[in-house]
Assembly symmetry: C2
Homo-oligomer: 130 residues x 2
C-alpha cells in the first residue's frame, strides 16, 4: 500500500513523497524545543560561557552584566531542559553543561557557530566550519 496522500496540485516536485515521510509531530516538537533554548541571546551567552567553563551565578551574572534573578531564571530553564547541571559549593551554586547527547548537540552547534567572529557575513564561514 502506498502511504502517499495526493496533494491538491501536482508540480512534479518531491513534495508528495516528502509529505508522506514527514517525521512525526513529537520529533519536530523535541527538536524545536531544543532550538528554542538557544533562540534567546541571553541563554546563548550563558551556554557559550558554560560550554567551556563552570561557575557560580554571581560570576555568570557579572560576566553578562545581568541581575541575579534574570540569570537564575535562564539557568533554571536550561537546567530543567537537561542542558545544565548544578552543584552546591558552599553558599554558591555552580553550573556547567550536562554530558547528555542533547547538550553535546547544542555544544557542537555553538562551537561551530562562534568559531569565527561573525563580523561581515557571519553565516557563510560558520557554515563551512559545521
Amino acid at each position: 500500500m502506498d502511504e502517499r496522500r495526493t496533494l491538491p496540485h501536482d508540480h512534479g516536485t518531491e513534495m508528495g513523497r516528502l509529505a508522506a515521510s514527514l517525521p512525526d509531530e513529537v520529533t519536530f516538537l523535541k527538536m524545536s524545543d531544543t532550538f528554542q533554548l538557544i533562540s534567546d541571546s541571553t541563554r546563548l551567552k550563558i551556554l557559550w560561557l558554560l560550554c567551556h567553563s563552570e561557575d557560580c551565578v554571581t560570576n555568570i551574572g557579572a560576566a553578562l552584566e545581568m541581575s541575579p534573578p534574570a540569570v537564575s531564571h535562564h539557568l533554571r530553564i536550561l537546567k530543567q531542559a537537561g542542558l545544565l547541571t548544578s552543584r552546591r559549593q558552599g553558599k554558591e551554586m555552580h553550573y556547567t553543561l550536562s554530558k547528555t547527547g542533547q547538550a553535546k548537540l547544542v555544544h557542537r552547534i555553538i562551537d561551530a557557530t562562534f568559531e569565527l567572529n561573525c563580523t561581515e557575513d557571519c553565516y557563510h564561514p560558520i557554515f563551512e566550519k559545521l
Copy 2:
C-alpha cells in the same frame, strides 16, 4: 593592557578569560535570531519540506494540514528573514530555500538533526552525524 575584568569570585575557572573574549552583542543577536526561526515546530516542518523541494502554499498547507493563513504567516517570517525565496507561477506562489549562507547553515542543521528518526534517545545519534 589586560582586557580581563576581574569577576567577583575566583574559582580558578576559565570564566574570567571567557568573559573578556565574549563575542559582541550583535553577533549573539544574529545567531539567536537564526535559531529562533527554527524554534517553532511549524516553521521547522516547513523548512524540512522546502530544504529538499519547492512548492506552492496550497501544497505546503496540505502536507502539514494547516490553514492557508497560518502557512502564509510563517512563510512570510522565513522569507523576511532571508531563509526562503518565492516566485509566482500563475495563480500560485512557489517557495523554496534561499541559497544564502544562513540558509545553508539552517539546511545543514536540519539535515543533521533529522537524518535519524529520533525515536529512542533522539539526540546522541544526531550529534554523531553533525
